[in-house]
């Protein structure tokens, strides 16, 4: 049985999420909190197995809670819930010490799996979130001056191309046209002064833009 602390300032949502969680027999919501302070207090007092915290709450927000928890009770893995789709939040959440990140919208499909995964000591990140994190790491590295001139999308396409994705696959994953992908590709070649996809792969590996 996984004992879960659920914090969200919206009671309806909280109720919905509880239902989602408790639909799974392995999960039991042992505590609920309508704000950050309460969530932190309950985390300390109730010792849940997993804390599911909404990122946007009045007072102490979810990121703050995650930060505090990672220093006061680092044994409790935190899953951040959010309404936002922006990658910036994911990155912040991970930086704050959260082990997973799930949008509320996709909660019915992913929440249970996420809770279970982080309870088992793993990280739960969507593919998109993972990529954003990777890109942030790449960007954060000050040595890679060449990548500074590349836009996010260009970096994404570069990584995809480097890992052998076809133009069509890339187009599908970013919901753009094949033609646009091609445009990005030629722009990349030009910006990096390269000739073909294998050059791109080599470049990406050499500059640690992709992991294997």
């Amino acid at each position: 049985m996984i004992r879960v602390l659920l914090a969200d300032d919206h009671s309806i949502v909280r109720e919905g999420l509880r239902k989602v969680l408790e639909d799974d027999n392995d999960i039991k919501v042992i505590a609920e909190a309508p704000d950050g302070e309460t969530a932190f207090d309950k985390a300390i007092s109730e010792h849940p197995d997993v804390a599911v915290i909404d990122i946007s709450m009045p007072g102490m927000d979810g990121l703050e809670v995650a930060t505090r928890m990672s220093s006061y009770c680092p044994q409790i893995p935190v899953l951040i819930l959010t309404m936002h789709e922006e990658e910036q939040y994911v990155i912040r959440a991970i930086e704050a010490g959260a082990m997973g990140y799930v949008t509320k919208q996709s909660a019915p499909e992913q929440l249970v799996a996420a809770v279970k995964k982080i309870h088992n000591g793993g990280r739960y990140l969507t593919e998109k979130a993972g990529e954003a994190l990777a890109l942030r790491l790449i960007r954060g590295n000050k040595d890679k001056s060449l990548t500074e001139s590349l836009s996010m999308r260009e970096l994404q396409v570069l990584r995809k191309l480097a890992t052998g994705s076809t133009n069509r696959e890339i187009a599908t994953s970013y919901n753009i046209s094949v033609k646009t992908v091609d445009t990005y590709r030629s722009r990349l070649l030009k910006k990096l002064n390269l000739r073909n996809n294998s050059d791109l792969s080599r470049y990406a590996i050499q500059n640690k833009l992709v992991e294997f």
Partner: protein
């Protein structure tokens, strides 16, 4: 006129000096010529006398020889035909061989007993020549020479006599005589000369001459005694011996009968005491010889000099005349101008007066007396200060007069005159000192300008100026107040604008939050339920499940819409995560929607004020929107940097650019203005540069108080 005369006299004087100089030169030149001819003449005379002396002594030895011949002695020892014949033969031989006129022998009584011309018509034989000096001396034992005209032959000649002694040489028996002609001498030695040559005896009888008319004339007039002595001597025939007409003027000059001048020089002939050779040279002739070439050479020069002198005189005269007429004109003009000046002085409508050194009025202009209401006679001779108020009088006497008479100038001295009718007149007096030749001030010339009216006007003007000044001060105060009001209004406006923007932002945030937190949460909850329902129904009723699925999908779309709406109103990320994340999100959102390469770079940005962050975010949003909308750029670079002063946001594209001056007004006008406004309100500095084909560059610098 006098000048003309002086110039004329001077010219004449110059001319005369030149002439005198020329004449003196000529005179000395002539004198030199005279001296030269004189010395020439003496040289010639010297030569002549010597030759004469030689010729006239030629036969002294011959006669001695003759007298010693035994044939002649024998005649006296034994007088007979034979001895006479032999003696005559001897005489003939002598006469012939020596080319003599005649030679003869006289006895002790002077009777000719033998002669070479005994057979001629004029034979001497038997003639008594005892009157001849050569006989009387010869008989006394003295050989002698004698010049005379032959009494028988009537020919001039020189007689040589020598006594004839007996064989013992003790007793004189007779006298032998030789006569030689002098015609030849005259012809050869005298005739060639141009000058008149006279050979005279000691009394002045001309015995020989190259001018035949003078022969046997007297060179100087002689008295009767001398004349009779000449006649008695029978030396020169029977006369008459007329006076040639010569008379001495001085030592060197001799005049003839006609008054013609001759240069005279004479020399005695040796052996003939008292006999002289006289040379007379025509003075005119010499002068002609001298002046001929002189005039030839000097003449033209003199003429030229004279002409030049004449011309010079003429030119000088002309110049002088011109100068004279000019002076006359100037004098006339001066007179006119003086008259005019006088008229001007009197008639000009200005108060003019002149005072002497004592301060008494000498002249006043008509205007002066008119203005003052006096008659001229009442004024002239009066002290100027009599017409002043006491204050002005004191001022004049104590200050102005001493100053004026020392420097000779004063300007704009304020005096108050008192008119005859007692009215006062304020004036400004300027005057200067009229000086005499030595530079001493002799009187003044003063102008008084009536400034009574002007002073009144001045006072009014000052009053008006004062009023104006107070008005202007008032106005200035009003302007200041209005300026403050305006500034306040502007500040208020700014504040208002700031407030409007702030409240706008607040409103947006509120709406966005409402959308996001309320509607979004509700929809999320709905979706959870919808998914649950779908999952639940799918097992029971596939159709209902599908419917629930559709519902869920619809809710998904709606959530997305709501999220987009909220994002556009105000992205939560700006409030939640700050400017950097917000801009990053914005840029990647733009990129996703447009496929334009949008790059965001940033430094580590400190946490900044929300309003400031909002302003920068909105500026970035607007700039990137503009670029995407208008520029056709392929790359947009957004940078957020910190520098020493604060934060700099730049947005740069490689698009088509635009001409800011034209485009600013129309297409991008509003966006640009709102960016500026935001930057301004945030206390930042907004800049935008662009040119056609060169892309666009936007920057906003915000100074952070207290730095970073």
């Amino acid at each position: 006129m006098r000048l003309r005369l002086i110039i004329f006299i001077l010219a004449m004087f110059a001319f005369l000096s030149a002439s005198a100089g020329g004449w003196l030169y000529y005179y000395s030149y002539r004198e030199a010529a005279f001296q030269k001819t004189e010395s020439n003449a003496y040289a010639k005379l010297n030569l002549l006398t010597r030759q004469f002396s030689t010729h006239l002594s030629e036969h002294i030895k011959s006669v001695r020889t003759l007298s010693g011949t035994k044939e002649l002695i024998r005649v006296f020892e034994q007088t007979d035909l034979n001895t006479i014949y032999r003696a005559n033969q001897t005489l003939d031989l002598f006469t012939r061989s020596m080319n003599l006129d005649v030679s003869y022998l006289m006895d002790k009584n002077g009777i000719t007993i033998c002669s070479s011309n005994r057979n001629a018509a004029d034979s001497f034989v038997g003639h008594d020549f005892s009157f001849r000096p050569y006989y009387s001396r010869g008989v006394k034992g003295e050989p002698s020479t004698y010049l005379a005209l032959g009494t028988a032959s009537n020919k001039r000649g020189v007689y040589f006599s020598h006594p004839v002694y007996d064989r013992d040489g003790r007793h004189i028996l007779g006298v032998a005589v030789i006569k030689s002609s002098i015609e030849f001498l005259e012809a050869t030695l005298l005739s060639k000369s141009k000058e008149t040559l006279l050979f005279t005896d000691p009394t002045g009888v001309i015995f020989m001459s190259n001018k035949p008319e003078y022969r046997f004339k007297l060179s100087w007039s002689l008295d009767e005694e001398n004349l009779s002595r000449i006649a008695d001597s029978r030396q020169f025939g029977n006369g008459p011996w007329e006076w040639s007409g010569f008379r001495t003027m001085d030592k060197k000059i001799v005049l003839d009968r006609q008054g013609k001048k001759y240069l005279y020089s004479a020399l005695e002939v040796s052996n003939y005491p008292g006999w002289k050779m006289i040379s007379l040279r025509d003075q005119k002739e010499i002068q002609k010889q001298v002046s001929g070439p002189f005039i030839q050479v000097i003449g033209p020069i003199v003429v030229v000099i004279s002409v030049l002198a004449g011309m010079l005189v003429f030119v000088l005269y002309q110049m002088a005349a011109r100068e004279l007429s000019r002076r006359k004109l100037a004098e006339k003009n001066l007179k006119i101008s003086e008259k005019r000046y006088r008229q001007f002085y009197h008639k000009t409508p200005v108060m003019l007066h002149s005072i002497d050194l004592r301060g008494k009025i000498i002249h006043v202009s008509d205007h002066w007396v008119e203005e003052m209401g006096y008659d001229r006679s009442e004024v002239v001779g009066e002290h100027l200060t009599r017409f002043f108020t006491p204050e002005s009088k004191q001022y004049a006497l104590e200050t102005i007069f001493p100053k004026f008479f020392s420097i000779g100038l004063c300007r704009d001295v304020p005096y108050t005159y008192v008119k005859k009718n007692g009215d006062k007149m304020e004036t400004l007096l300027s005057c200067y000192g009229v000086r005499n030749v030595e530079g001493k001030i002799i009187r003044s010339l003063a102008v008084s300008v009536d400034v009574t009216e002007k002073n009144l006007v001045q006072k009014d003007l000052e009053k008006a100026k004062e009023q104006l000044s107070s008005y202007s001060q008032d106005l200035e105060g009003q302007v200041q107040r209005r300026t403050i009001q305006l500034e306040t209004a502007q500040a208020n406006l700014k504040k208002l604008s700031k407030n409007i923007i702030a409240s706008q932002e607040r409103e947006k945030e509120l709406v966005a939050r409402e959308l996001h937190d309320h509607l979004g949460q509700v929809l999320t909850a709905l979706r959870i339920d919808a998914v649950w329902v779908k999952n639940y129904l799918s097992a029971i009723d596939r159709n209902a499940g599908d419917r629930a699925g559709k519902m869920s999908a619809l809710i998904d779309t709606t959530i997305q819409d709501v999220r987009d709406m909220a994002y556009r109103l105000r992205p939560r990320v700006l409030d939640d995560l700050g400017l950097c994340d917000a801009l990053e999100s914005l840029v990647s959102d733009f990129e996703k929607r447009t496929n334009v390469s949008c790059v965001f770079r940033h430094d580590d940005i400190p946490e900044i004020d929300k309003t400031l962050a909002t302003a920068l975010y909105r500026i970035g949003q607007e700039a990137v929107t503009n670029s995407l909308r208008h520029s056709d750029a392929t790359t947009i670079l957004v940078e957020l940097r910190t520098d020493t002063a604060g934060i700099v946001l730049t947005i740069e594209d490689d698009g088509c650019g635009f001409n800011p001056e034209e485009e600013g007004k129309t297409r991008q006008g509003f966006g640009l203005e709102s960016m500026k406004e935001r930057a301004n309100l945030a206390g930042g500095k907004f800049e935008m540069t662009s040119a056609l084909g060169k892309g666009t560059f936007v920057s906003c610098k915000i100074r952070l108080t207290g730095g970073l």
